[in-house]
Symmetry: C2
Subunit: 231 residues, 2 copies
């Protein structure tokens, strides 16, 4: 009997910095020489879709979203807690620009690594390259799961999914601080702010969650998981 396949909208990988394990001390020093660390305030743009991709980023502290945008719309591809890497999809041949935008949800610290230094390590260290392949492959699987989630589940399932992701993968707390607005949550779950409010209220009425002004607590993990899986 095949085990049931479950896709979720969460976007956090297992070992987000494993590539750096493959570097020698000299190579790590080389990275450090070719990088700077920058502080960003809440809401600031870390990288802008279409702008020159001069660096690979490591989110060292904070929380950020990665998203696509066009004139009318935006689509959140991932939300990323620290520590995580941003910008690997800019690494393809003949590409010079960031394929997505990134913005902080809270004050954050980010290390910017010169992309040419990063690329030179890829061509000189096959194990490092192997880890980058692994990370890109895993990322693709994660994004595909989110893709499935957003296209096939309806609003209740998607929002349940977001809440579970925040509790289990981002904050790793049943009761997590609410640093995101309803608008943020709505955008992540790809729905309207009004629907987000209504569904949160419903979840609260049904005893699935407790909502405070500055936190949300998962009260009934099992039922919320059911909702997220049924869709």
């Amino acid at each position: 009997m095949p085990k049931p396949v479950v896709f979720n909208g969460c976007s956090v990988g297992e070992n987000p910095l494993c590539c750096f394990d493959e570097l020698t001390e000299e190579e790590i020093a080389f990275i450090d020489e070719n990088s700077v660390e920058v502080e960003y305030k809440r809401g600031e743009t870390i990288c802008k879709q279409g702008s020159f991709a001069s660096h690979i980023m490591v989110l060292k502290e904070g929380l950020a979203k990665i998203y696509l945008e066009n004139a009318n719309d935006s689509l959140v591809l991932k939300i990323l807690p620290a520590v995580n890497i941003i910008g690997l999809p800019a690494l393809f041949d003949g590409n010079a620009v960031f394929p997505y935008s990134a913005q902080t949800y809270m004050d954050s610290a980010i290390k910017l690594i010169d992309i040419n230094a990063f690329k030179s390590l890829i061509t000189s260290n096959a194990k490092f390259a192997g880890k980058i392949i692994s990370m890109l492959a895993e990322n693709s699987v994660i994004i595909n799961g989110r893709f499935f989630c957003l296209t096939k589940k309806q609003t209740y399932g998607r929002l349940a999914d977001v809440l579970l992701c925040l509790a289990q993968r981002i904050y790793k707390l049943d009761k997590f601080p609410l640093q995101l607005t309803r608008k943020d949550l709505a955008e992540i779950a790809s729905m309207s702010v009004e629907s987000t409010t209504r569904i949160l209220t419903k979840f609260k009425e049904d005893g699935l969650i407790a909502v405070n002004s500055d936190s949300i607590e998962i009260l009934d993990l099992e039922r919320l998981t059911d909702i997220s899986q049924i869709g």
Copy 2:
């Protein structure tokens, strides 16, 4: 003034086999020793989500879809014409299974390369690894575009997108053979069969396309492109 950003649902990369350019003659021979070529009939499953990923595949002739499936639903991630590679996202550490299924739309020929042979080249040839990175990165950008398209555009835009993709990227013919059923088209555009029929009829009435029993012709590329972009 920033140029308008356009996402589409098409899923064909620029140089899908470039990694093999980086191999020496011995390495190519090594690949050949560790691969077999298999013929598939229309509708056959090439690889099954969740089954052991024992090989990387090269679609040498034919047309296939790559899709996610769970108990109730399926999501087409890409449609792939020959020549293209299938299975790179299986390459991440600690993973043993295919992260998606693939199935042919027509009789197809596929080369199966032993995944361990493939991985050994990645660790021994950094340029090869670099190209794999490039391909995975490009793939991720392509999938993200399709993700945006399916979540943000509505039915008319999505179907226009599929038709344009078939004409421009898959068949490279304004008038292309219709080897896909309405059900196939509906699945690719992530909508019901009935909506697909209705929209095709509307496009025909409006003079945007000509629909024959065995082909579709793009008559008004400009307006169809507008529809696909507006959504």
